[in-house]
């Protein structure tokens, strides 16, 4: 069922990144960012719920699958780190989501209506990440250095975004080109350089999509699923 594979992959991306952003609640550097990060997390959670419901029962899928059954990109499961690290992750992912959903929205697939709604949200997320990349990159010496470190640290997880996914009828090579052009433009305006390392490693190319994740992910799931799993069959 290619449509399920696609819904699960994109749904897991949104679910996992939403969870990571939810961890910021009460810890953001300024009150406006408490609102903005929660807002983005909520948009993503809304997307996840629609997508997972296309593939099955949203709560069963979120709470009762183990790590090896999740299909999200390794990028979105990376821990928040500092604010620059979170923004780098968001810039890479929102740019991808905006381009991907833009194409899906104009297609004929089952995902088109969801993508049409979500593209408005992810465009806002991309703008938010872009604005902060500029402020941190072209702010103070410290923020410049932190933004550089965030972009560098996450670069090796970006290649996975362009691995084809069953049921997503998109030209992934063209997607890679548009993504690279868009991200490069923002990074350069932010007075930074595009990281020069590889975009994947021995275990990273297409790994998350195949259920191979990084170590912090299991701990994230343990926290997310604990209560639900402690009360089998209960409704909330």
């Amino acid at each position: 069922m290619p449509a399920n594979v696609a819904a699960l992959a994109l749904g897991d991306d949104a679910l996992v990144l939403s969870h990571r952003l939810g961890e910021w609640a009460g810890h953001a550097p300024v009150l406006e960012e408490e609102v903005a990060l929660a807002n983005i997390a909520l948009d993503l959670l809304g997307q996840a719920r629609v997508l997972l419901s296309l593939a099955g029962d949203e709560d069963e899928l979120a709470y009762l699958r183990e790590e090896r059954a999740f299909r999200n990109l390794q990028l979105v499961e990376q821990p928040n780190g500092d604010f620059a690290h979170t923004i780098a992750r968001q810039l890479y992912f929102s740019t991808y989501q905006t381009l991907l959903y833009g194409q899906l929205a104009s297609g004929e697939s089952e995902l088109a209506p969801l993508a049409a709604k979500a593209v408005k949200e992810v465009t806002y997320h991309q703008d938010h990440a872009e604005q902060w990349t500029l402020r941190l990159g072209d702010g103070t010496a410290e923020s410049h250095e932190r933004m550089r470190r965030g972009l560098d640290a996450l670069w090796r997880f970006t290649g996975e975004m362009f691995q084809p996914v069953d049921g997503i009828d998109v030209d992934f090579e063209a997607l890679r080109e548009s993504w690279t052009a868009s991200v490069t433009a923002v990074i350069e305006r932010a007075t930074l350089s595009v990281p020069d390392g590889p975009q994947s490693g021995a275990w990273t190319a297409g790994a998350g999509r195949q259920g191979l994740h990084t170590e912090p992910f299991g701990r994230m799931l343990a926290e997310m699923q604990h209560l639900h799993r402690s009360h089998p069959g209960a409704s909330w």
């Binding site: 550097p29 929660a38 909520l42 959670l45 709560d59 409704s235």
Partner: protein, 335 residues
């Protein structure tokens, strides 16, 4: 905009106090006009003359209210990553986001009185201004999130609805927006507890335990008894406050008892009984020793709450500095 003479008496120019006698006559005139406007239930606006003590009381109260929204995010955010269904997780995230928004409205309202958010946050972080003592209690189970919605937001609404008619315009208007969202949160909390109460035995027990732990602290949210409340009388004269602490507390108890019955949960008070003669529920004594201990910083989570708030602020310094530096370079206003 109000129409009474208070508003025409506004705007004493800085150089105007050259003649002390004339100046004190002018102050008396302004005071009289202010009193008349308040008595006529008119709104006082930021540019209007107001007594220094009225201004100071409002700054203290609005700041404390704003701080409570911000600190109040923590006990609930504690459960965002563990919420047991995606629907509940979305509701909780939206609620915590609303609280940050309420904090922002309220800091803006306080700023109309001539202070700044930065200054107020500094007072919060250094312990010179307080926040509601309720947020010094821990959220130990998922049911606590529901109990906070039902009881804590319920008590907040009982307190805040009369503030929508408070004499100071910006505060009253902020309260109208806040109350709309709070009553939505309160219903969600009730509904979440209801799901637990009607769920499995373990869920029902979790709900009852949460109500047992949150009931008394919620009653304390109305503040000390009327005979020990130092600011009450003046605040009522100024129409910042419309009802006494004990009146509001009684109103809250009267609302909660039937709600607890329909939830299928009990309230942890053996003395709780309907008093036909008074037309109200009688309830047992509140442990004021605990109240004062929590207020003085010795509650279960006081240190944890303020430490987390300070840490978020300190760890965010470089981000705020970056935004300011970028704005200076590119000629745009800072956030």
């Amino acid at each position: 905009m109000a129409t009474a003479a208070a508003h025409t008496a506004a705007g004493t120019e800085p150089g105007e106090a050259a003649h002390p006698a004339a100046s004190s006559a002018r102050t008396a005139e302004q005071q009289a006009a202010f009193d008349e406007a308040v008595a006529a239930d008119e709104r006082i606006e930021p540019r209007d003359w107001m007594p220094d003590a009225y201004r100071a009381t409002l700054v203290r109260q609005i700041a404390q209210h704003a701080h409570s929204e911000i600190i109040g995010m923590q006990p609930e955010a504690n459960w965002i990553t563990r919420a047991p269904s995606l629907r509940r997780k979305a509701i909780l995230m939206a609620k915590v986001q609303d609280e940050a928004g309420h904090g922002l409205y309220l800091y803006s309202a306080a700023e109309t009185l001539g202070t700044s958010r930065e200054e107020l946050l500094d007072k919060l972080h250094s312990g010179r201004q307080k926040y509601s003592s309720i947020f010094n209690y821990p959220t130990l189970t998922w049911a606590d999130v529901g109990a906070i919605g039902w009881l804590v937001d319920g008590a907040a609404i009982t307190n805040q609805v009369p503030l929508c008619r408070c004499s100071y315009g910006p505060y009253a208007r902020a309260m109208v927006r806040v109350c709309k969202e709070e009553s939505f949160h309160q219903r969600q909390g009730y509904e979440s507890l209801l799901a637990l109460s009607r769920g499995t035995k373990a869920q029902h027990e979790m709900a009852q335990d949460a109500v047992n732990r949150w009931w008394w602290p919620s009653l304390m949210m109305f503040g000390p008894p009327d005979d020990e409340s130092s600011h009450s009388e003046q605040s009522m004269t100024w129409k910042i406050k419309r009802h006494s602490n004990d009146e509001l507390r009684q109103r809250f108890v009267d609302i909660c008892v039937p709600q607890a019955e329909s939830l299928g949960l009990t309230l942890p008070d053996p003395d709780l009984v309907w008093n036909e003669a008074r037309g109200h529920y009688d309830f047992g004594p509140i442990d004021w020793t605990e109240f004062w201990a929590v207020l003085k910083g010795n509650g279960p989570c006081n240190d944890q709450r303020i430490t987390q708030r300070r840490r978020a602020h300190e760890e965010g310094v470089w981000v705020r500095e970056a935004a300011a530096a970028y704005a200076a370079k590119h000629g745009k206003a800072t956030a």
